[in-house]
Structure formats: C-alpha cells, structure tokens
C-alpha cells in the first residue's frame, strides 16, 4: 500500500483545472502550457522554448538545475514573464514520476487586476475554483461603493460650506445677514456689554434701480458695503437687513460725539458719486442711532424700534442726516428727539 498513490491525468483535464500550468520536459524545455498562460504570449508558441527564455526567476531558488530545485518539498516559484510587462507570477511545482518532467501551476497573484486587462482575459479563462473572478468582482463593487461614499462626502462638504456661507453673509454684499445680526446682539445683551446700534437706510436708491437698472443698483450696494466696512472697526458688525437697509453694531462704543463723527463721515462718503459703466449714481443715507446705556436692561427689540423711529425722523428732516433716540422720546414723535448733523 503506497501512501502517495500515483494517478493518471489527461492533458485536457489539466488544461481545464489548471489553465495556467506549464509542463517542462528534458533540457528544461517547455512541452505544454495551459490555455490561459498561452494567452499571455499571443502569437508565440511557447512549446519547445527553453523555460528560462520565457520566465525569469524573481528569487534565488529555482536558478541552476531546475529539476533539483523543484524536487525540494514545498517548493514555491516566483517568476516574471520576459515580455514588455514583466508580469509577475507565483506558483507551485512538482516533479513528475520517474523525473519525467516538471509540472508548474502558476497564478498572477495580486497582479491579476492588471493582468486581466493586459491580456484581455475573460471569466472562462479561470478555473471555477479560482477565486480570481470573485476578487475582481469585489474590487469593482468596493470601488463603486467607495465612489458613492466619497461622492456623498464631497456633496456634504459642499453643502456644509454653502450653508455656512449662506448663514453668515448676504450673497450680494458679503455683509452679515439678519440671522448673524440677531446672534451678535443677543451675545452683547447677554454679556451686558455697552454698544450702539445704527440703522441706516439709503436715500434715492430706488431712483438708481429705476433709472439705471438693477445691475447699477447691485453695484451701488457693493460700494456702500465697502464704505460701511471701511468706516467701522474690526469688532463692529455691519449687516444688510433689507434691500437698501443696513444695521451697524458698535461694540463697546456709546459716546454720542464719536458716533456722530462716524455717522457724518459715512453719510459724506455715501454722497460721493458712484460710477457704473457710463452712468453715475448719486445717493445718500439717513441714520437713526441708539445706545444700550440708555436702556435698563437693554432690550434688542425696543432698541431696534427706537433706532427705526430715529431713522424716520432723519428722513422727515430732509434725509442725509442722523438722529439720536432714547427711551421715552419715541412717544413724543420725531421733533422731540435729539437732533444732530
């Protein structure tokens, strides 16, 4: 009883079960190659060629006498095809009974993803037990899933950026919007900090829109935003709260003289002619001002209302000026307000 019985296998069976095998006969010449391995060297008949003319060893081990090397138990071969791709191969070897030849069963290993494209291999080129197809399938499916995930991440990132920008600024002027203004005021009130609020409404802006068009109007709004930003400090807030309405918040500034100076300078600059293409737009501004120190405790809604009343008082007085207001004065109508400018 032999514990390693020999069996006889037809070449057809070998081709089907090991389509990447190579048989090597006397003088280390190739006597047969499996159909898939043959596809890697199209137009070339490998049979009869010297083994080392087709394959190049990648490691020590199967150099020298091939038969001797292959006879080592558990021998693995690491090869490279001698073509322009130098495709890597790995495999098992076995010496045939009576040292009649060598059977080598090869595989592309991890290089298979490149190899299928390079040699135009199909599903039928792999044995049913070979997991290459499953691996290729996994590779593609995972690439797909990964692509969906990165698409999602990119979309989310874009949406987040856009939402952040939207939440913070007015699209046209880049100034803060009402939401941010509310947050700023809320913060100032909650930490009980002194501040002043200026409500500015452009004069004659509607005329610019009506006579010169909306593009000119948009340009004027951008210039106004620049002026307002330049005439305020870093720590102040400039918000656009309506078409041509702005609210400015002056952090830690309640001195009427300083506020008057700022308002005057702003109005003066707003009155400078603004060129747009061949036209010139001429606007001005009316301002209402309130300071938190006149309120105990400061109430944002009431301050806004009072600033608004002061603004209308400025309009009543013939525009292009500013008006201070404080609690108790609103009820007495515009003429009782502290006037300046």
């Amino acid at each position: 009883m032999c514990d390693n019985p020999e069996i006889c296998i037809c070449q057809d069976t070998l081709d089907r079960m090991m389509p990447m095998h190579v048989l090597i006969g006397p003088e280390e010449r190739i006597t047969h190659v499996g159909p898939t391995l043959a596809k890697t060297q199209p137009g070339l008949n490998l049979v009869g060629q010297h083994f080392f003319d087709v394959f190049q060893p990648r490691r020590q081990g199967c150099q020298g006498n091939l038969m001797e090397a292959c006879a080592k138990p558990g021998m693995k071969v690491y090869l490279r095809l001698r073509d322009e791709h130098a495709t890597q191969l790995i495999g098992n070897v076995s010496v045939l009974p009576d040292r009649a030849g060598i059977l080598m069963n090869l595989s592309f290993g991890i290089a298979v993803i490149d190899a299928v494209g390079r040699y135009d291999l199909a599903g039928s080129d792999f044995a049913a037990t070979d997991l290459t197809l499953e691996m290729l399938w996994m590779f593609e499916a995972k690439s797909g899933a990964l692509a969906e995930s990165s698409d999602l991440a990119e979309r989310m990132y874009g949406a987040k950026k856009a939402a952040e920008a939207d939440a913070a600024s007015d699209m046209l002027t880049g100034l803060c919007n009402r939401r941010v203004l509310d947050q700023v005021l809320e913060r100032l009130v909650s930490r009980n900090a002194p501040f002043s609020l200026m409500h500015l409404d452009l004069d004659f802006f509607k005329a610019v829109n009506d006579t010169l068009g909306h593009a000119a109007g948009d340009h004027v709004l951008q210039v106004v935003s620049e002026i307002l930003t330049e005439e305020t400090r870093e720590e102040d807030t400039v918000a656009r709260v309506g078409g041509d309405e702005f609210v400015l918040v002056f952090d830690n500034m309640t001195d009427p003289k300083r506020l008057a100076k700022i308002a005057t300078r702003m109005i003066t600059r707003l009155e400078e002619p603004i060129s747009f293409k061949d036209d010139v737009a001429q606007i001005s501004g009316s301002v209402g001002v309130v300071s938190s120190t006149h309120y105990d405790p400061p109430d944002v809604a009431q301050m806004m209302e009072d600033a608004d009343a002061a603004l209308y008082a400025s309009k009543e007085r013939g525009r292009a000026c500013f008006t201070f207001n404080q609690p108790g004065l609103t009820a007495l109508a515009g003429n009782a307000m502290t006037k300046a400018g």
Partner: protein, 198 residues
C-alpha cells in the same frame, strides 16, 4: 430601503422621463428633499410611495414601470456599474442564471446593509428554469424580470421570460432559454474601464 435602490430609481426616472416628472413626484411626496442619498437609508413606505406616485403620474401600471426599471439597470449606460457587476456572475447566460442564488450574498459583500430579495433557481428539463424571488417588498420580482430580460440581450441569448405571479412573499419567474448564442451580445471585459460612471 437602501438609498442605493432609491437613488437608482431616481436615476431611472430622471433618465427616462426627465427632471420635470421627478420634481412633480417629489413635490407630491412632500419629503422636504429633492434627491435620495445613495448611502443613506429610507423608510420602505417612502420607496413604495415613490413608485406608486411615479406610476400614477405616468399612467403606467406599477409592474410595468418596475420591469422598465430592471431593464434600465442593465441596458442604460448610466447604470453600467450594475450591469458589469451582474455580468461577473457567469461566462454565458445559463452560467449567469446559476449564479443568481449568490446575488444577495455578493451584494452584501460590497455593501453590508444592502438587502436584495432572496433568489433560488430551479431547473426544469434541458433549458427551462424557474426563479423564486422572496422579499417582503412587493414588486422586486418585476424588477428582476426586467433585469433578466435585459441581461439575456446583453449575453446575446434568446430567452422567453414570464412573471408567474406572487404567493405570500415569493414571486415566481419562468425562464425558457431558447438559444444561448442567438446574437453577439454586448462586449464584456473583466478589466474595469477607467471611465467613471455618470
């Protein structure tokens, strides 16, 4: 329902019937969003409402719309990735049919939370098959019918397919493979093309 399925439905409806229909359907559904995220999860009820609303707007029976969706998944270039992943299943149509049992398992390998209907192929004689599709979701069987019909063309096989009805959770399809080499079919190369999907 997995967002990949809702997203594919969206792709199908937009590619076939235009964005106008899509907006109308989403308006009616009143979800508060305009499109499905492929990697999110949605209520099954929403998917069914999406199918019903679309079918109603198009004046098409639900089953026919779902079968068209199945065809789209294989035949439309926008869904090339799905077609390729299916074609890996076999070297010819018969081989592919035998791989269907593994399809839900394969899908889960790629996307662990993607649940596809359970498929079981039975052979009846030389070229006759029946396929049972088990899923609590009504209509999957019709999608599979569309997929299988389109794949027969893709492989170049001539096959006669029929939906035999639903009993309980299980739809049964019958497949008669008349000629596996009927036409050239579409090319399929194992190597992934570099071009990205649409």
């Amino acid at each position: 329902m997995h967002g990949l399925i809702n997203g594919a439905l969206q792709g199908f409806l937009c590619a076939t019937y235009g964005h106008e229909l899509w907006r109308k359907v989403m308006d009616e559904l009143d979800t508060g969003f305009e499109s499905f995220e492929p990697m999110f999860h949605y209520d099954d009820a929403l998917t069914h409402a999406l199918i019903d609303t679309s079918a109603k707007n198009l004046g098409k029976p639900r089953d026919v719309l779902l079968e068209d969706f199945g065809t789209y998944l294989v035949a439309n270039p926008r869904s090339e990735r799905v077609r390729r992943l299916l074609r890996f299943g076999g070297v010819d149509y018969a081989d592919f049919l035998h791989s269907l049992d593994d399809l839900p398992g394969r899908a889960r390998l790629a996307v662990p939370d993607l649940n596809l209907p359970q498929l079981e192929l039975h052979e009846h004689g030389e070229n006759g098959f029946s396929l049972s599709c088990t899923s609590p979701n009504l209509g999957f069987g019709h999608v599979i019918l569309g997929v299988l019909r389109a794949l027969a063309d893709d492989y170049g096989a001539l096959a006669f397919l029929e939906h035999l009805g639903r009993s309980g959770d299980c739809d049964t399809l019958s497949i008669q493979l008349l000629d596996s080499g009927f036409s050239e079919g579409r090319e399929f190369s194992l190597a992934q093309k570099v071009t990205e999907h649409v």
